[in-house]
Amino acid sequence: MKPTVGVVVFPGSNCDRDANYSFDYLGAGTRFIWHLETDLEGIDIIVLPGGFAYGDYLRTGAMAAYSPVMNSVKEFAASGKPVIGICNGFQVLCEAGLLPGALRRNSGLKFRCMPVKIRVETLDSPFTMGGMWPGQVLNVPIAHFDGSYYADDETLEELIASRRIAFRYCDAGGELTDEANPNGSRQHIAGVLNEQRNVLGMMPHPERAVDPAVGGTDGRLILASILYSLQPAES
């Protein structure tokens, strides 16, 4: 049975079709979930896609965190199933309290759309378990104005101690240089996990690096890993 990916669509989401396309490309079933829906029956993976939910005129993600679907997403996450928030989806997850920290305006005070490199920091999650190795450098693009990850020192220490930083911005050699940090994120954080390790938020767009015709293939590793994580364990 191929897993079904539910792509949540808020008013103002704009990477919903792209997420749908890329999971479809990898052979998953997909379904759009309008933000007013609350029934996630039959969904195996939840994607909160990129975009500008409600225009993001308030803090990014702040309005979307109160959409009806989010209560269901919280229950879905509590049941241990995988949830990935990409870009605006990451911001929504932070605002909804499903992930620690917040995303602030880029340090350069400009929107940035560019390819970046991120380093795989842990294999212990559904998003990083399949076919990756620790320290592996992936090429994926970013496209955001508010992507500078912030958490207080205590939270950062806890994230590090519990190995919940999933990805860090790095240079081609995997080094954590200032030049390689595109938005001023603390600890070079590009993606973090929740305590149960089944909720990932990341600013880079893995769904934009699936079809080689338009942007490389490294994003496949992340999306395919989620699909792989749902396969019954071999006995």
Binding site: D18, G55, R112, C113, P141, A143, G215
Partner: protein
């Protein structure tokens, strides 16, 4: 002038002439009331009526095998591989000068709605921008800081609006010239896609059908935008026009795109038109007139942003993010339900009638009653035009001291016009929708065409410097450059849209520039078989007595055969052979070398042989289709020198070049002779390239090879690869500081 305003008749302060006022009275058979007068004033403005340009646009070539819908609709539409592609350029020059962020943002909104009104989903944006010179660049003057502020604001406006609505900005061009200090240009091109049987038209058919207004509420913003702002030149009081600029709400625009396309897909609408210039008045009268019907509007039903708005304000407000749809009575409930589900406001504001009149009521009383078609049937002017005496063409012909060729090349490479615009396009989401095969920084952007296996290439080009020297030839050159850019990525050019940016048409010498440019554009498009599917005319680009350089912007779409892969610009492998396709003449007239190194502008322009362009285009496509090219770059502004430097800057190696023997090096490097491209091929493929070129009588010259860590051109000092990259990559961002 302010002291006399109180005594001025109302029609004049609304921008109508005495003759036009007389004609309105004849149409109505009575004196118009305030609301009616306001309606005519916006609809008969230059911006809406094309009253000065119309007679000259008639002869343009608009037919071709790909064209489905030519000029006259919201956007031109061509057929590519079984689907319809809509294309349109709009200007938002004056609003952007008065308020750069919102002016540029709402410019995006407007052209996107034009494309949506054809039933098409917008899939790409491109911007063509012009400003005065930046601090630190040649020709920077006392306006430089302001020019930087405008540039930053316009880029931010495009970024905030385009990124939010989820339409990728895949390309464009941005240039700097003192001529635009008092009047920058912000032209935006939008491309959309729709199944051929899904194309919608701006029609309000079927008396009894409901008229629904979708999207934002109507406020007092942007009243008279087309007349006060777009159809008059600026004076010292430009800032006082700020209230005529609208404020953009990209979130509502995104809902409007999704809502409009959903209604169309569900078969709930029979006609659709966007609200842009002249607001409700324009959308209702045009769609009724197009269908030969009339319309009755209840202005009390229009959702307003503030209380006590006058009828003329409601009718002419240019509040953004609104769309008009015509719905059969039985489907009204379903249409409103669907909009509500998507979070989009939808309100029934009137009904289609068979009266052929646009009748508006407020509080149960008729507040306007005019023949619908008369609003769009504005005056047509045959404005006088005269060629200026050659000595009156304002050019600069006192050259500053030159530079040695290597220093000249580095300076050009770091100039505002030629340096990498990464600082600009990194602020645009050029990837969303996952169709972008080649984005900004390429000779032309390449997009997957959704629903097909085909790719299209898109470019937008204009050259005001050339236009100032010779508007007719300048327009031909702009068409040729767009054509060359598409061919350099392996595409076959198929259609054009355009935006003509000129000064005050009431000045005969400016009108002459326009007439010449239209004819030049038409001539080039006819010869190159790229029909013109539509266009936009922007006059009054002028502050006080200074008109901008005549600047036609050419948007062009080409088609790539399935499986064709465009080569990159940058050099890929050492020992690849660099070849110049085409012949180089001594033609520095109007060039970037003149601009940046000498500080002059003086003709004659390079000779333009369109047949040679077509031959070069064929050759490039053939070479790319055969997969022979490792790199390719069109050779235009900055000449061979700039083409080579960019191939080095974007690539991994330097190059060793031997110029043509017996040529003066500066002229050979920087002449902007047309119909040329620089390509790189593997040594083993050189003979095949030479054979192909020989077969069509196209000259080729072996320039040298990709090699090492420096650019070596015999006869000048070597330039290190790192210096080339630094100048190219940092020149522009340093000026933007």
């Amino acid at each position: 002038m302010a002291g006399t305003a109180a005594e001025e008749p109302l029609h004049r302060s609304l921008g109508l002439t005495d003759d036009e006022y007389e004609r309105i009275q004849q149409i109505l058979g009575r004196v118009p009331n305030h609301a009616e007068l306001a309606m005519y004033s916006v609809m008969w403005s230059e911006h809406c009526s094309y009253k000065s340009s119309r007679v000259h646009l008639k002869g343009l070539p608009s037919d071709g095998p790909h064209v489905l819908i030519g000029p006259g609709e919201g956007a031109g539409v061509i057929e590519v591989d079984g689907v319809a592609v809509a294309m349109r350029i709009e200007s938002h020059n004056h609003p952007s000068f008065v308020e750069p962020v919102q002016g540029a943002a709402t410019g995006i909104g407007g052209v996107v709605r034009d494309v949506v009104s054809m039933g098409a989903r917008p899939i790409a944006l491109l911007d063509s921008l012009r400003f005065g010179n930046l601090p630190g660049d040649t020709g920077a003057d006392s306006t430089a800081d302001r020019n930087r502020w405008l540039t930053d604001g316009v880029v931010h406006g495009i970024s905030s609006y385009g990124n939010c609505i989820g339409v990728p900005t895949i390309g464009g061009e941005i240039k700097f010239e003192a001529s635009y200090s008092g009047n920058p240009l912000v032209n935006v091109m939008c491309v959309g896609v729709v199944p051929i049987d899904g194309i919608m038209l701006a029609r309000a058919p079927g008396p009894g059908n409901a008229v629904l207004l979708l999207g934002s509420t109507t406020g007092r913003d942007g009243i008279g935008g087309v007349s006060v702002l777009a159809s008059a030149a600026f004076d010292e009081q430009a800032a006082t026009k700020r209230p005529s600029v609208q404020v953009g709400d990209p979130f509502t625009e995104k809902l409007l795109i999704e809502g409009s396309l959903s209604l169309i897909e569900k078969g709930l609408v029979v006609g659709i038109q966007d609200l842009g210039g002249a607001g409700l008045c324009c959308a209702t009268s045009e769609s009724a007139a197009n269908a030969g019907t009339g319309m009755t509007l209840d202005l009390d039903q229009v959702p307003l942003r503030e209380r006590n708005m006058e009828p003329f304000e409601i009718l002419t407000s240019e509040s953004q993010e609104r769309m008009l749809v015509i719905v059969e009575p039985a489907k009204v409930a379903a249409a409103i339900d669907e909009c509500t589900r998507l979070g989009l406001r939808a309100t029934r504001i009137g009904v289609v009638t068979d009266t052929e009149r646009l009748i508006c009521t407020q509080g149960g009383e008729v507040v306007a009653d005019v023949p619908a078609a008369s609003l769009g049937d504005g005056p047509v002017y045959h404005r006088p035009f005269t060629a200026p005496a050659p000595r009156q063409v304002k050019t600069v012909d006192a050259p500053g001291p030159g530079l040695p060729p290597d220093q000249a090349l580095l300076k050009l490479l770091g100039s505002a016009n030629l340096a990498s615009k990464r600082w600009v396009w990194e602020q645009f989401d050029y990837q969303v929708m996952l169709n972008t095969v080649a984005g900004p920084g390429s000779d032309a952007a390449i997009l997957r065409l959704p629903g097909t296996e085909t790719r299209i290439a898109v470019t937008v080009d204009g050259n005001g410097r050339y236009g100032q020297i010779d508007p007719r030839e300048g327009a031909r050159h702009s068409v040729a450059e767009a054509y060359r850019n598409l061919c350099a990525v392996g595409a076959e050019p198929v259609a054009v849209t355009n935006c003509m940016n000129f000064g005050n048409p009431e000045i005969p010498e400016v009108m002459w520039q326009f007439v010449e440019a239209v004819q030049g554009m038409g001539d080039a498009c006819r010869t190159l078989q790229t029909p013109i599917t539509g266009g936009n005319v922007s006059f009054y680009n002028q502050t006080l007595n200074e008109a901008i350089y005549p600047t036609p912007m050419i948007g062009m779409i080409g088609v790539l055969k399935p499986g064709v892969l465009a080569p990159p610009v940058g050099l890929q492998d050492e020992e690849d052979v660099l070849v110049l396709l085409g012949r180089t003449r001594d033609e520095l007239g109007g060039s970037e070398y003149q601009r940046t190194i000498l500080g002059t502008l003086v003709g004659p322009l390079p000779e333009l042989d369109l047949n040679a362009e077509a031959s070069l285009g064929w050759l490039l496509r053939e070479l790319i289709t055969r997969n022979l090219l490792k790199s390719a770059h069109d050779c235009s502004e900055g000449g061979i020198g700039m083409a080579l430097a960019e191939m080095v800057a974007q690539g991994r190696f330097g190059a060793e070049i031997r110029p043509e023997p017996g040529r003066e090096l500066i002229s050979w490097l920087f002449s902007e002779t047309t119909a040329r491209a620089v390509v790189a091929v593997a040594r083993g493929d050189l003979a095949e390239l030479q054979d192909l070129a020989k077969g069509i009588g196209s000259p080729v010259f072996e320039l040298g090879v990709a090699k090492g860590r420096q650019l070596t051109i015999r006869g000048m000092e070597d330039i290190q690869l790192r210096d080339i990259k630094a100048a190219y990559n940092n020149g522009f961002s340093q000026m933007m500081g």
